[in-house]
Symmetry: C2
Subunit: 145 residues, 2 copies
DNA sequence: ATATTTTAAGACATAATAGTATTAAATCTT
DNA sequence: AAGATTTAATACTATTATGTCTTAAAATAT
């Protein structure tokens, strides 16, 4: 059940690493993140560039440089990251992917799919990086191998 | 939110077309299906070959040939098709796709993901082709463009 | 028997995703 | 100012997913 692309999974894991492991606003070395989470450095860098250009992260070059959250972790939600890295219509095009689908012309799986999809979307919409970071520390959840 | 591969979506739509449009056990021309559902004939044929070899379909060549369900539509469930066309571990490897994950070493999204996943799996596990076919006819649901 | 229809099988082509490498630009240290 | 560090940007390669085409095999019809 592969729902998210690698790029998106990496982005989420990396952001959660930052908020759970580092003091707020701190610049974190991308090399460190890629090492800790076992993600390709260059690939992660590319993913971060999207987030930086979108204003989720800010970056700083040179020694002691890195990336840091550009906004308070309370104001960044998982759905924002997903929409950036998977495309804005991520929660629109669904299971059978018929053209012009929806309530008006539903496919056979519409009824039981649409509710689960909406519920899932709501979870991502309301889960902030701050919340998730706190939970990770509280419950000692893992982000890598 | 792309969950299923094209191959799997085509397979599902095609099987649902057979059970909803044709008398039970009838052999249906693949060309007709591909035309009605606007699916590439050759691609659909390849997908059907998997289902045939797995004993979901039986096939017959030559004039008036085609494919037909090899078992009663009551005994074939959507999850069977999904497992065949997406791989048997489809409902196992999930959101962040960490190695060796699960209850013992959960990732941050485990809690809210695992329940939705299980619910969804249950829907597919209990939805038979017969049920779906009946619903399609009853509610005039669509399988194609 | 021969030609026609239809699925089976596999080769081939294209596109999307994932991963790697190179060079450039910014910042720091000395 | 010079060199080291680190992200940015771009180009390149590899893998997978998707789609097309060709040939073979089975069955029918004439
Ligand atoms: S579940 Fe609804 S919105 Fe999704 S493909 Fe089916 S008809 Fe369209
Ligand atoms: S949700 Fe649970 S099973 Fe899925 S990747 Fe996270 S830890 Fe593993």
């Amino acid at each position: 059940m592969k729902v998210l692309s690698k790029s998106c999974v990496y982005g989420l894991r990396a952001l959660l690493y930052i908020v759970s492991e580092k003091p707020r606003g701190a610049f974190v070395n991308i090399g460190e993140i890629s090492e800790q989470l076992n993600i390709s450095f260059h690939f992660l860098t590319k993913t971060f560039q999207v987030l930086t250009q979108a204003g989720i992260l800010q970056s700083y070059r040179g020694p002691n440089g890195g990336v840091a959250l550009a906004r308070p972790a309370e104001e960044v939600f998982l759905i924002d990251i997903i929409h950036l890295l998977e495309g804005p219509g991520f929660f629109d095009n669904c299971l059978l992917g018929l053209a012009g689908c929806g309530e008006a012309a539903p496919c056979p799986v519409h009824d039981f799919w649409i509710s689960h999809k909406a519920a899932l979307k709501e979870e991502f919409r309301t889960a902030s990086l701050a919340q998730m970071g706190a939970r990770i520390n509280m419950k000692k959840l893992r982000l890598g191998p």
